[in-house]
């Protein structure tokens, strides 16, 4: 790209200083070849301004929105599923606690001698013995399997929740 081409382009973009403009006008007056170049460049510039915009199919926007809403819908469904599972576990846990308290209260009312607190501690030790039996060797495999399964489920939901929060 030579000096004159650069000057002509700057002229098209209105970037010439007063002195440069004056110099160019003198050169244009003296050179028919330069005039032709300028006319050609102006034609290119105005034709490029008139390049028609490409028009996409009318359903393009709906295709994009469908791709966006599908993951959003899936995230909402994941969220409801997570809440459902948490609620079930919460209910089971609450039921166990209520059952334990009920048992403690029953034991403490049956043994009317001694304070309520002593009775509560006695019930607690009964339950701990019961737990000890659950975690006996023969039951360990079952307990281990259930714990691993619960851990896997929790890990999956934690990972999915982390991915979701990262995405948006």
């Amino acid at each position: 790209m030579n000096y004159t081409d650069e000057i002509l382009n700057k002229y098209i973009d209105g970037e010439l200083s007063g002195d440069e403009l004056s110099l160019l006008k003198d050169e244009l007056a003296a050179s028919e070849d330069l005039q032709k170049k300028l006319i050609a460049l102006k034609m290119v510039h105005s034709s490029l301004k008139g390049i028609p915009e490409d028009v996409l199919s009318s359903d393009f926007t709906s295709k994009v929105m469908a791709k966006i809403s599908t993951p959003l819908k899936a995230r909402k469904e994941d969220k409801y599923f997570f809440i459902l599972i948490s609620s079930i576990f919460g209910l089971i846990f609450s039921a166990v606690i209520i059952y334990m308290i009920y048992g403690m209260l029953n034991n403490s009312s049956a043994e009317s001698s001694g304070s309520f607190i002593t009775g509560l501690f006695d019930s607690m030790s009964d339950y701990l013995s019961g737990l000890k039996n659950i975690f006996a060797e023969k039951n360990l495999t079952l307990i281990g399997s259930i714990s691993s399964f619960a851990l896997l489920i929790s890990g999956y939901f934690f990972f999915e929740g982390f991915k979701t929060s990262k995405r948006f």
């Binding site: 290119v44 490029l48 390049i51």
Partner: protein, 188 residues
């Protein structure tokens, strides 16, 4: 709703009105398509890549800090995605600088070619599509997308000076076609 600025639409989307994103899609889909069509030289591929670009833009709205215009940011995504698609292209600024001196050749003479008899703007439009992708990108962004040289430099991640060099070179190549085929004589 359609007269809202890009900023207002983005704020609405961030508040949870995801359906408002369709306004941005409608606003920029045609120009984005024009840019991709000239870079990828394939309409079907361009449409597919454009969908990906809009998805990337949607997912990135949370981190869009509005330091630049949404259009500039979006066209940057489009440009980078197209480059990724055109595998083997050099993307670093230094590599772009080194190839700024590359020369390219467009058909000198349109006679005998299918272009003969068409109007100049149609011929030039077709010539733009034959330009190497960085030149056609600058022409498309500057003329069709009506971006300033500064905005083009931001989208393409090159200096404003380099944008002007690319722009002038592309114009000069097209000017040579006009001169060699005496199109300017029609005006005289």
């Amino acid at each position: 709703m359609k007269n809202l600025s890009d900023f207002e639409i983005i704020e609405s989307i961030k508040k949870g009105n995801h359906s408002d994103y369709s306004l941005l899609v409608d606003r920029y889909k045609n120009k984005g398509f024009s840019l991709l069509k000239r870079m990828l030289k394939n309409e079907m591929e361009a449409e597919e890549v454009l969908q990906d670009c809009f998805l990337k833009a949607f997912n990135g709205l949370k981190s869009f800090k509005q330091e630049s215009k949404f259009s500039t940011w979006f066209y940057r995504i489009v440009y980078n995605t197209a480059l990724t698609k055109l595998s083997g292209k050099k993307r670093k600024i230094e590599n772009e600088m080194s190839s700024i001196e590359d020369h390219f050749a467009l058909p000198d003479n349109v006679s005998g070619l299918p272009l003969e008899g068409k109007e100049l703007n149609i011929i030039l439009n077709e010539m733009v599509e034959k330009l190497p992708e960085k030149y056609s990108t600058v022409i498309t962004m500057f003329y069709l997308n009506e971006m300033s040289c500064e905005e083009v430099s931001e989208a393409m991640h090159i200096s404003t000076a380099n944008v002007k060099v690319l722009l002038y070179r592309a114009r000069n190549a097209l000017k040579e076609i006009v001169l060699k085929n005496n199109f300017q004589e029609e005006l005289l």
